[in-house]
């Protein structure tokens, strides 16, 4: 480790002298914190994802060129933006985006394998999750290189929206092959969704592109991805701010203390210390 210079019982970390015991203790704390943070983000981000993107990510016949491409990145960028602020502003760690999407990926695979495949008999070809790691990596790299939340929002946010469709295309293309069933044209994904009965999610509930957007030669994914990128820029800014606000310890002046007759000056000093 280049940042660490051993020197008897004293060690230098990032230009500051630490006793070896303290350095070891801090490392133990790091390991604990990483484990706890990873599990917490996995649980929280996964719940958020299920409640918002939900069906679009659950089913192969919901992953359309319009709503899925637009919505998923906008909702996915919340957690990376907030966590990036916490880790960058306090620790100069450009890993918030990747940490979130990697945690989500693991959470999603656990739920698809156990909840959908083993418990509800849905085949993986119906319930595979989208990948979103590329977007998280770009966010982190842009934050590292620019060191600035605004440029990360503009460049990283736009890239986050744009990259979602192409990065999932290698996974999705085999499910968009055309086939004929009952004298009708459907994609393989449509047929998988049709074959494996979802009792409470009939066909018409699919919130998908039903008519063609009359731009860009009818390829609505391009329009959707750019629109998603623009909104990602804005949501990134909002969630960066929320991440900052949540990581600050906030105290509210305690009115009760005034009411109890405590001198105002003393109260203010106590709060500044807090």
């Amino acid at each position: 480790m280049s940042a660490q210079l051993q020197e008897g019982s004293v060690t230098t970390i990032y230009g500051k002298r630490w006793s070896v015991e303290m350095a070891d203790l801090s490392r133990t704390l790091d390991r604990l914190a990483v484990a706890i943070i990873f599990i917490a983000i996995t649980a929280a981000f996964h719940l958020h994802y299920v409640l918002t993107v939900g069906d679009w990510d659950f089913w192969v016949d919901w992953k359309d060129r319009q709503y899925w491409v637009t919505l998923a990145p906008i909702i996915l960028i919340f957690f990376p933006a907030a966590v990036q602020n916490v880790l960058w502003s306090n620790f100069r760690l450009p890993i918030g985006g990747t940490l979130c999407v990697a945690a989500l990926t693991i959470g999603v695979w656990i739920s698809r394998t156990f909840g959908f495949e083993l418990w509800s008999y849905f085949p993986l070809s119906l319930v595979w999750p989208a990948t979103m790691i590329a977007g998280g990596l770009i966010l982190d790299a842009v934050l590292l290189l620019t060191g600035n939340w605004f440029f990360t929002a503009v460049i990283g946010g736009m890239a986050f929206g744009l990259v979602f469709y192409p990065v999932n295309w290698p996974i999705m293309a085999p499910y968009r092959l055309p086939m004929e069933i009952m004298n009708s044209l459907v994609s393989v994904g449509d047929y998988i969704g049709y074959a494996y009965t979802r009792t409470a999610t009939p066909e018409y509930l699919r919130f998908i592109e039903r008519g063609t957007l009359r731009t860009f030669g009818g390829h609505s994914a391009v329009v959707s991805a750019f629109f998603s990128g623009f909104v990602c820029i804005l949501t990134y800014m909002v969630w960066w701010w929320i991440g900052g606000a949540l990581s600050r310890v906030v105290t509210i002046p305690n009115r009760l203390k005034f009411a109890m007759g405590m001198p105002e000056e003393k109260v203010v000093r106590a709060e500044q210390q807090a």
Partner: protein, 420 residues
Amino acid sequence: MSRVALSLLSLLAALLFTEVASAHGERNQEPFLRMRSAHFFDVTWSKTKLAVNEEIVVEGKFRLFKDWPVNLPKPNVVFLGNGTPGPVFARVESWINGQPAIQSMALKRDRDYTFKTVLKARIPGRHHVHPMLNVDGAGPLLGPGDWVEVSGRAADFKLPVTTLDGTHIENLEHWATGRVKAWHAIWLVIALAWLGYWIRRPLLIPRYVALREGNEKALVSHTDLAVGAGLIVVVVALVVGGFVYTEAEYPRTIPLQGGRAVVEATPKSDAPVTVIVDRATYDVPGRSMKIAATITNGGQHSIQFGEFATSNLRFINRAVPAAVAHVDPRYPKELLPRNGLKVADTTPLAPGETRKVELEMTDAAWETERLTSLINDPDNRVGGLLFCYDDRDERLVANVSGSIVPVFMDVASAQMRMTH
């Protein structure tokens, strides 16, 4: 916050709904839904025992009721589903009036349709299988259910198809899942490498302290910046490369198909029987439904009243041989109430004749099928289909609907009270 609560609630509701539809919970649906929405009839199951990979055909007819409840959305977007415990069967085909029912469609009230669903056994077990209509906004409307036993091993199940570009897919269950896993693995490895690159260093407190003391240069080195730039190059190259390669590999793909199908209803019978309900009562302690109606035979032949069908229960009038002959011996017994339909006046109704008729159905089924909670509804109406048979054994199906009045005392105890 309330949004999250709402989402959680709807998730819970969805879970419960799945439960209602799948776990033989059809009795939990409100009586007005079951009596006045979709009436299924002539339903058959081609077999009750089959092995994994074998097919079963569930077919029959349904009428979307004329007296459709006002609080239910009209059947403008309808999907032919199957009421099974999730995907224990794979639906390989489904038809409404000969049109493919892979998409949702608009149907008309007071009209009849035939349906046919072909299911391929997938998960072994004893499953309750219903035909089902999903109506947008109204939820699942279940037809009659029968028990079907599936034997064999789930692992042996295969669903092969051939695409239009000639690709033969051995089994849709596993189609392209290798690619899914491979791409997820590639990205996860890169993500973990990036995380590892940073996490291997002294992390939280030392970095926090160094940053507070303004020693930012020690935290992010030139090498780190170069690695970050390299990461962008790798990610962009992988995304673009993967996309271009896939486009070349699969040049002919189509978007999800989300159109709505159009289907014509079965033509209406030109020999109508009209039923006007004068008074319908439900005797609560006696479990007896009585419908006094004025019935007109608008056809050319005299008719008899053979069956009253509601909520997938078939009350058969055993005095009418044609009605008895119309019951498939394999039809689920629990849907054929033992006491059946009783009609006091058994003389056939002549062509053009109008007569007051009393239909009586006394059976514990009203209770066991939980139809009696009807009297708690704000829209207290009874509905069903009356199957009439003419002298050529032709069947005419009439709508029956009207307000229902509950009787809370049985006649015997009422008389007792009067004598005291």
